[in-house]
Symmetry: C2
Amino acid sequence: MIPPTHPRYQSLLIRERLVNCVNRGITSYHGLIAHGRGEAFDYLLGEVSHPFALEAEKAAVCLLILADHPIISVNGNCAALVSEDIAKLSNLLDIPLEVNLFHRTDARVEKIENHLKNSGAGRIYARGDAILEDLDHDRRVVDSRGIYRADVVFVPLEDGDRCEVLKIHGKKVITVDLNPLSRTARAADITIVDNIVRAIPNMIKMVNELKTADKSELDGVLARYDNRRVLSYALETINENLNRISRELLE
Amino acid sequence: MIPPTHPRYQSLLIRERLVNCVNRGITSYHGLIAHGRGEAFDYLLGEVSHPFALEAEKAAVCLLILADHPIISVNGNCAALVSEDIAKLSNLLDIPLEVNLFHRTDARVEKIENHLKNSGAGRIYARGDAILEDLDHDRRVVDSRGIYRADVVFVPLEDGDRCEVLKIHGKKVITVDLNPLSRTARAADITIVDNIVRAIPNMIKMVNELKTADKSELDGVLARYDNRRVLSYALETINENLNRISRELLE
């Protein structure tokens, strides 16, 4: 039991949730390491949703609403951390979820699928009946109804080179990545530099506000959106936090 | 198999080593998350041993040589990442290793002890026959010949509050922590802000140079050492790296 007075209470609770999902076969060992990397950047960001994150989340919602064939890609960490919220977002936007794993086994896909169903998800694609060329690892195995034919792919918690490959295939990519310097963060069209446990609930609220908006309003949000500027704000914020703590340390 | 051309080859190899040690019961799930946090900071530091790290490593070696009852505390990640080097350092300095775990079970202690023995370690304490008051978790269980009576404790890869408690007990503490802002980093007498896979080999070289030095020379190194300055250099380095990458990003 973690005492609620612990200075890192929230962060420790999330960690327990992940460890629990490793035991259930949902999260991989590599997912735990990736989570640790994210934790470090979240800590440097002050563990809040900054304006640059909210701006990216809003643009992401607009792009998902406007898309012809959008898909939400779910990996083990996403399922472990925000299964109920991602199911809710999927249902609200009427966009299916696709289980897409770096370390894919049929057993793991099924476990994640069941976990998402139990969390309220309506449509889940997990067929693995198509191959996305140029991609290494098991993630190249995709669903023909989902990532394969999608024009917009929302891939929270992506790592490595997939974002770049999705771009080569002409898709628009939205990601959630706490490291504004990562290859994924730089390659995506919209990079949400925020903790996924805050980002998805933020987006759910925004869907409720935006889903009745005119197309011209959504187009306007996207026209004004500049991902490079968002990334540089995120870097500036980390820098300012470091400078502040550095000053306190030296006093 | 990871291709050697992968931009993160070294980092991925280390990750594989850890995952392998989870399967063998040496590293814990929480150890994987902690490793991820370290990875993020190492990345921000440029993955090299900076002068401030070398300075801390040298001071650490001097303090260990001068100590009356020094001990090297080994946890799961340390055993997974640098078992041979930590065994070599222990033998060279004639300082025993003590297995001290946040998530302690007899089986895990035994596995780590055997792993260290197989890596060449001479003296390993793992009795758990004494209690260090004020410490939570299983780490309070220590060896009466080791941490319990030690005047200098080298605890690489520490997390949480143990460093502060060791200080309360009047011990000098040396740690390896890639996050210069952590509570451990701030509480320790000597904080080595470096990746343990670089830090321990660096220290081994330094032992060979310093073990024949006069006591006055070692005292001099320690008298000139300022941990707060070392931490602020580490923070400055992270800041400079972020600024540089930020500029490249915006060009």
